[in-house]
Subunit: 227 residues, 2 copies
Amino acid sequence: MYDFVRSFFFYGSRNHLMSQPDTKQRILNAGEHLFARDGYHPTSLRSITTEAKVNLAAVNYHFGSKESLLEAVIERRLEPLNKIRLGQLEALLEKTGQAGESPTCRDVLRTFIEPTLRMRIHGSDSEDFVALIGRILAEPRSVAMKIFMHHMEPLMNRLFYALALSLPELSRQTLFWRVHFAFGSLSHIMRYHERQAMIPEDVNIDMPVDDLIELFLDFATAGMEAS
Amino acid sequence: MYDFVRSFFFYGSRNHLMSQPDTKQRILNAGEHLFARDGYHPTSLRSITTEAKVNLAAVNYHFGSKESLLEAVIERRLEPLNKIRLGQLEALLEKTGQAGESPTCRDVLRTFIEPTLRMRIHGSDSEDFVALIGRILAEPRSVAMKIFMHHMEPLMNRLFYALALSLPELSRQTLFWRVHFAFGSLSHIMRYHERQAMIPEDVNIDMPVDDLIELFLDFATAGMEAS
DNA sequence: GTCTATACGATGATAGAC
DNA sequence: GTCTATCATCGTATAGAC
């Protein structure tokens, strides 16, 4: 009887088109969550498949390997995010270019930072992703880093170009290092969005994301523009 | 013959005092090197004991566990470093206090940053340690982080106090966040001291440490003092 | 094509005999 | 101190059910 009901709903005429439609997404979600929380290496495929409520072999079937799963987790959100960041940057360059002006450093940084930190809003789908990228940025020579940089290169080149426009008096060398410093800060706050050691009790770590963005832009812009 | 010579030098009258005098140090050095290069989790005890040319069980014998080895690796260099940093900070506070002045933000930051980055000099003993700490700072909720923060707390409190003195117009909240940003930058450059992706070829990554310190202080001070 | 159960070989950290 | 045994857990591979 139960088998009949099950068959009716899940093995009906549309079965060949829809079987277990969300298995891949469930694995991606669990992987994103656990990689972000515990790091790539300490996370086992078994913990991922348990959380996703799928069979252990499903990861290998759908993604090929643990490493390829990580790649898929990164790509799923990084591609759309970079589209947004690049779109805002090009729009800024277009607008200021038509007016015969250079963009301000703050506006250039904003096109990168604002879409990134907005993903971090508590309870959103992409909350974990931000922490994961923060971790990846802190692992030199890792596979994750290679995957990430591969997707970032076009945007980074364009960002560097725009920053050079906004800060024409800086040498290429100095500009590079300051971008490096600013990215260090950003990756740091991408990771630390919950209370932990080093954060005094009277400091509001759950600051509204809009306030945090301005606070960070104050710091980063001043650092970039230092004489 | 060789055995006799060996016995004479290594198994002589002082043997009961000096047996295998450098086993612990060799393990500490190998652990520091591999933890810094590959990260804590991907590094196996076998790879450490192989590099140190000691038996696999020696780690457990001398340190108790892999985790306790990490703790020993951290403590060996962090304690002397913090002594230096705290000493310089107290000297600065003493000097400015006697003159009835507040220390400058740049001078306060310098007491922290300069001894840290000087450890990073290529070829020095403590080169790996800096990269290791950079990695640890990027792992929220890790054991390593707990160990590290335990040793940092007194110095951090004092540093925060000195920074508040140097920037009296900032709210506690803003000051905290800016310190957070600056530490993010610092941990980032602690990790990245070799050429890798994201670094253009015409940028000199092997900048003399004195220049890097000033470059970083320019950025961090401007960011901290932003209006 | 999708999913499950199970097995494999490698490697992890540790404990106990010597 | 060393050597070896042990046992858990890892990522991956495969055979077969649906």
